[in-house]
Amino acid sequence: MRRGLVFAIVASLAAPALAGAGGAAGQARATGQARPPGQGKLELQPGLKRARAEFAEGRIVEAAQLYRALAEQHRSVQALLGLARIQSGVGDARGALDVLERARQLAPNSEEVLGAQARVALAARSPVIATRALEALARMVPSVMENQYLLGVALMQAGDMPSGAVALEEARKLEPNRALTLVALGFAYNGQKLYAEARPHLLRALEIDGTDVEALAALAESEEGLGELEAAELHAKRALARDQNHAIANLVMGLVRMKQERYEEAREALEKAVKTDPTSAKTQYQLSLACARLGDEAGQKAHLDLYTKAQKENAERLRDLQGAAGTGRGGM
C-alpha cells in the first residue's frame, strides 16, 4: 500500500520524461503503414532532424527505425535517447532501459542519459537501475532538487527506507516547501516507524495543501504510531471524507479501533482497506487479529493465509531487489 503511493508519486513525476511519446504513439497506430528509412549511410544531423520530424508528425515507427539506424551507424547518444523515448512511450520499458544502458556506456556522465534512465526505470518499477543512475546524477549535480527527490523515491521503492529518507532530506533542504517531498519524507519515516520524525513534515505538507489526502492519511498513520488515537482518527476520517476507499486511512481506522478494543468496527475498517490493497501484509495480519478477537476462527485463518502469501511475495520481491542492489538487510 505504501509502495503503491510511492509508485504513484513516481509515475506522476516520471511522466514529463515521456512527454509526447504516448500521444504520438497513439497517432502512429492510427496512421497505419510505415515508410522505411532511406537506404545507405545516413548523415547524423540531418538524420536526427528527420527522425524528430517523423516523430512530431506521429510516424513513430519510421522515427524509431531512423533512430535505430543512426544509433548503429554513428553510435549516437542522441539517437539512442530518441529511440528510448519512443520505446517507453509505447510501453516497452525493458527495451528502453536496454537502449539507455547502451547510451550510458557511450556517455557515462551525461546528465540527459542518466536522467532518462532514472525516470524510465522508476516508471518501470526497476528501482535498482534508477538508484544507480540517480546516485551518479546526485553526485554530479547535487544542487538539483529533483535528482535527490527521485533518488529518495527510488531507494524507498527498493525497500531501503533509511537511505531514502537521507536523500529526501537533501531534496527538502534544496526546496523546503515542496509538498511532494514532504509527503514522501513522511512515508519514509513512517516506513521506519520513526513517527515523531514523520509528523512535522506531514503537518507542513498540509499547511501547503490542506486537502492532500496522502498527507492526511500519512499523518494519521504517524499519530496512530505515536499512540495519539484521537488525532489519528480525526485525520484518517478527513482523508476518508475525500477518498472513502483510501487504504492507509482505512488501515489507520482499523488500528485505532483495535487498540480501543472495538473489534467489529476494526474489522469493518480493515476489510475496506484490504479491498483497496489486498497485497498489504500488515492489513491482512491485523484483520486476522480482529477476526481472532471476535472469535471468528475461519476468518482468522483465511486472513492469516492471505497475510502469509502477501508476506512471502513481498519478502521475495524485496530479496530480489536487495540482492540485485547488494543492500541486504542481513539475517537476525
Binding site: P162, A165, Q192, A292, R293, Q300, Q322, G328, G330, M332
Partner: protein, 552 residues
C-alpha cells in the same frame, strides 16, 4: 499514579565494579565474525551454587571456527561470591570450564537434592552439570539424555506436566556443518537449496558480512520430560513443540500466560514468527502465537527476536512479554490483556529508542525500588564490518544499553543517557542477568560481552525505596520453586513476580524475587502460589530483608 518517585537528580545508578570484584573473565570470539556461530554466544547465569545466600556468577565461553576442534581453547568461568563485592574464580575446582562451544545457560535444582544444577547449551552436545553439593559438578548430560546435539541456544526448566519434577525445553538455531561453512559475504556451501547464497543472506546494506540465519537451514526445538528417576525423555513431537518448520530459536520463557495454573511457553525466533505454546494440561501444547498476537510485529513483519523478558509492568496481575529485536526493528512489547496480547510497543514509548539497536539480553527490574518494573536491554551488532562502512542510519557495531524507567501509567522513559559510562560506553552485549549481588536490596545487573570483559553493574542509587527479596524453597523435586508466583501488596500497589529458569537472552537471572516497596516499610501481605498450586500466605512482612519461604 505512583506511590514513590525516585529523584530525577540522582545521577549515580550503576557503577562497573568488575575489576575491583576480581572478575577477569573475558569472552572469546573471532574478531571478524566471519561465521554466524561466532556472533551468538554470551549466555551467563546468576545462581547460588553453594547455598551460602550469596549470588555466584557463571559465564559461558565460546570457541571459534579456527579453534573449534580444541574444546580447551574456550574456558567458561564460575565465580564464587565472597561477599563485599569480591569474587573468586572456582572454575577448575568446580569442573565447569569446558562444556564445549558454549552458547547459553539455565539453572535449576534438576534432581531435587537442594543444590542448583547448571545446564549449558552448545554448538554441539549440551552439558548438564550436576551440583555435587561440595563445590564440584559432574557433567551428567549424556546419562540424563539431554545432550540434544546440533546448535542449541536457549533453555529453561519447568514442570509443564505438574508431576512435581522439572522438565527441560531447549531452543535450537541453525543447522551448521563446520566442515562446510558458507563463505563469508558470498554463501555457497551450507545454504538452503533455493536460497541465492549470495546477496541478501550474506550482505548487509551493501557490505559483505557473515551469512545467515536467513538462507541457512534451521533446527527444530526439543522438549525433554523428566521421568523422575534421573532420565529425560525427548517428547517434542508428541507435545507439539518440535518446531517442524525449523525456525531459528533463541530466547525461551516459561510462564502461565492465561493464568490457568499450567505453564505455557514462549519461544523467540530469529527472522521468523515466534511461538506461544499454550499448555493443554494433558502433556501437549497448542501453538497460538498468531491469533494471540505475539508472533510478529504490528506490521506482520517477522522480526529478529533474541531475548525474552516477562513481567507484570502495570501491576495488573498479568505477565506481559518484552522481546528484543534486530536493528531497524523495534523491541516488541506484547501487553497481556487476559486471553490474548496486544502490541503495545509504541504506546509504552519503548519502541522508538530501540530502533537503531540490535537488542539481546533484557529484563524487567525495579532498579529504584518504587514498586514499578523498569526495563534494561543490552545491545550490540553482529557485524564488525559495519564500523568500516558508512551506513548512515544504522548503529555501529558497539552499542550502548537502554534503560527504561516505568512512569507508572503504562509508559516508560528511556533514561540510560542520564547515568554515565556504565550504561553508555559502547559494547557488544549479549547475555544480561539481574540479581542482587550484595543483598542490599538494590538490583544489580551483569552483562556478558561478546568481545571481552563483562560489565558488572553495581546498583548505587542513593535514594532507592524500601524492598523485599523473597527466596522460595519448594518441595522436592522442585526445590528451586521454578514456576512459583508471588503476589505482594504494599500500600496501594499489588505486585506479582515469577520464578523462572531461563531468562532474557539465553541466560539465567537470580531466582529470588525482588520487590521494590517505595515508601512502604512493610508488605501488607504476600502470597506464594507454588507450582503445584498450593498457597502460602504471610502478612505484615517487614521491609528491607531477604525473606526465605519454604513450601510446607
Amino acid at each position: 499514579m505512583r506511590g514513590f518517585v525516585a529523584s530525577q537528580d540522582a545521577k549515580v545508578l550503576f557503577r562497573d565494579i568488575r575489576a575491583e570484584a576480581g572478575i577477569t573473565y573475558a569472552h572469546h570470539s573471532a574478531p571478524e565474525k566471519k561465521f554466524i556461530s561466532e556472533s551468538m554466544s554470551g549466555g551467563m547465569a546468576l545462581l547460588d551454587y553453594d547455598n551460602d545466600g550469596r549470588l555466584d556468577v557463571y559465564f559461558v565461553d565460546a570457541l571459534t571456527v579456527e579453534n573449534a576442534h580444541d574444546p580447551r581453547a574456550a574456558r567458561s568461568v564460575l565465580y564464587r561470591n565472597l561477599g563485599g563485592n569480591r569474587f573468586e574464580d572456582v572454575t577448575d575446582a568446580a569442573g565447569v570450564a569446558h562444556p564445549g562451544w558454549g552458547m547459553g545457560v539455565c539453572t535449576a535444582d534438576v534432581d531435587g537434592d537442594g543444590w542448583e544444577d547448571i545446564y549449558v547449551t552448545n554448538l554441539g552436545p549440551n552439558a548438564l552439570y550436576h551440583n555435587n553439593g561440595n563445590g564440584t559438578f559432574a557433567d551428567i548430560g549424556a546419562q540424563s539424555g539431554v545432550t540434544a546435539g546440533g546448535w542449541s541456544t536457549g533453555c529453561g526448566f519447568a514442570d509443564y506436566d505438574r508431576d512435581g519434577d522439572l522438565d527441560l525445553f531447549v531452543s535450537r538455531y541453525v543447522k551448521l556443518d563446520l566442515e562446510h561453512l558458507p563463505e563469508f559475504g558470498k554463501g555457497g556451501a551450507g545454504m538452503v537449496k533455493g536460497s541465492t547464497g549470495r546477496g541478501a543472506d550474506c550482505q548487509y546494506r551493501g557490505v559483505a558480512v557473515q551469512c545467515g540465519p536467513r538462507g541457512l537451514p534451521g533446527e527444530g526445538d526439543l522438549l525433554f520430560r523428566n521421568d523422575g528417576h534421573g532420565r529425560f525423555e525427548e517428547v517434542s513431537q508428541q507435545a507439539g513443540v518440535s518446531d517442524p518448520h525449523h525456525y531459528f530459536g533463541l530466547g525461551v520463557a516459561w510462564f502461565d500466560a492465561d493464568e490457568d495454573g499450567w505453564l505455557d511457553l514462549f519461544v523467540a525466533n530469529d527472522a521468523g514468527p515466534n511461538f506461544l505454546y499454550m499448555n493443554q494440561k494433558d502433556g501437549t501444547f497448542k501453538e497460538v502465537a498468531f491469533p494471540a498476537g505475539v508472533a510478529v510485529s504490528e506490521d506482520g513483519a517477522e522480526q529478529g527476536c533474541m531475548g525474552v523478558a516477562v513481567g507484570d509492568y502495570e501491576n495488573a496481575g498479568r505477565f506481559s512479554i518484552f522481546v528484543t529485536n534486530f536493528a531497524e526493528e523495534y523491541n516488541a512489547f506484547y501487553r497481556n490483556v487476559g486471553t490474548y496480547f496486544t502490541d503495545w510497543s509504541f504506546r509504552t514509548k519503548t519502541a522508538p529508542s530501540s530502533l537503531p539497536f540490535v537488542g539481546w539480553g533484557n529484563g524487567f527490574l525495579d532498579y529504584d525500588n518504587d514498586g514499578w518494573l523498569d526495563i534494561i536491554v543490552g545491545n550490540g551488532h553482529v557485524y564488525p564490518q559495519l564500523d568500516q562502512a558508512k551506513l548512515g542510519a544504522s548503529a555501529p557495531y558497539r552499542q550502548r544499553r537502554l534503560l527504561y524507567h516505568n512512569r507508572g501509567d503504562g509508559t516508560f522513559d528511556e533514561v540510560a543517557q542520564q547515568y554515565g559510562p556504565a550504561l553508555n560506553e559502547p559494547r557488544v552485549s549479549r547475555g544480561l542477568t539481574l540479581g542482587d549481588l550484595d543483598n542490599d536490596g538494590r538490583m544489580d545487573v551483569v552483562i556478558a560481552d561478546l568481545d571481552g570483559y563483562p560489565l558488572v553493574l553495581h546498583n548505587e542509587l542513593a535514594d532507592a525505596g524500601n524492598w523485599l527479596l523473597v527466596k522460595l524453597r519448594g518441595k522436592p523435586k522442585n526445590t528451586s520453586a521454578v514456576g512459583a508466583v508471588v503476589t505482594l501488596r504494599a500500600g496501594a500497589l499489588t505486585m506479582k513476580r515469577l520464578v523462572r529458569s531461563g531468562t532474557g537472552y539465553i541466560s539465567q537471572d537470580d531466582k529470588r524475587l525482588h520487590f521494590g516497596l517505595g515508601a512502604a516499610t512493610k508488605a501488607d501481605w504476600l502470597e506464594v502460589l507454588w507450582p503445584d498450586q498450593t498457597k502460602t500466605r504471610r502478612e505484615n512482612v517487614k521491609a528491607n530483608e531477604v525473606l526465605e519461604i519454604r513450601q510446607e
